[in-house]
Symmetry: C2
Subunit: 175 residues, 2 copies
Amino acid sequence: MSIQMINSMDFEEFIDILGNIIENCPLIAATIWSQRPFKDLTDLKKHVFDFIEALPQSGKEGILRCHPDIAGREFEQGTLTPQSQREQREAGLSDLSLEERRRLGHLNSAYKTRFGFPFVIAARLSDKATILKELERRLKNQPAQELSTALEEVLKICHLRLEDIRQSLEDPAKL
Amino acid sequence: MSIQMINSMDFEEFIDILGNIIENCPLIAATIWSQRPFKDLTDLKKHVFDFIEALPQSGKEGILRCHPDIAGREFEQGTLTPQSQREQREAGLSDLSLEERRRLGHLNSAYKTRFGFPFVIAARLSDKATILKELERRLKNQPAQELSTALEEVLKICHLRLEDIRQSLEDPAKL
């Protein structure tokens, strides 16, 4: 069972494997390691959620600011975290027309100016057309509503990354 | 003045330049960006300290767990953050005898077993003999006392890294 494997990890292995379940925030894995043993992955996720929930608003926004732009320069240069690179590729974002790229760049930039953090979406649950539509729609949200919508996306991404980890622990050939 | 340059940065540039003032915790820079403008670097540091201070004990330990071992495998392989690599090199840690390496490995490991986080020290303010002595001495601390001592070292490292940033902003040739 993968949860027993996770519970038996020392903190270095734990951070190595779970450090990016929240993009670029190894501090969260490093924190919840103290809270083992976890009953199951749902319980582990609850500790992640509790950490984020306890942050002040600036800290919640900080989590979002640790995320890359959708189809931004780092994605094009291939310098994202392996997880983000894969998620954006699987959403078809390496296959944008010039017009789509221009529109996405424009919307990303308007979004960051309005909210002070980048647009975050669980790209693997979406595709490029939906991502563009969602970005346009969410740009009209009120700031407090959008902060909470964006954090829900962070948790969806966390859930998917944990599922990948579970699968790779149960069948290392899939890693 | 560097503080004005820092206050005028967008969050991407801010994280790019200040993201590692606390080792491997870009979340902290990403959080305090909301709290600009800073009066000066002392004021900026106060926001960093306040973030850490507000964390539960597990989060404070998490900050320490984001730090590398002193003279550990990553240092030997040159895969630390540029700041850590330089700090450990300047403390003379690339020049250990076999006996010193063995002793450090043994003490590091005993320390992690006892406290659940790695030994953190502002290496640039020290040298290899003092680091070994301090590691041996702090290993005997009570856990609560050692957590607070280790976090003071984190803040000293943050102070030195901010000084480097200030210098490089005022004289980019020094970067």
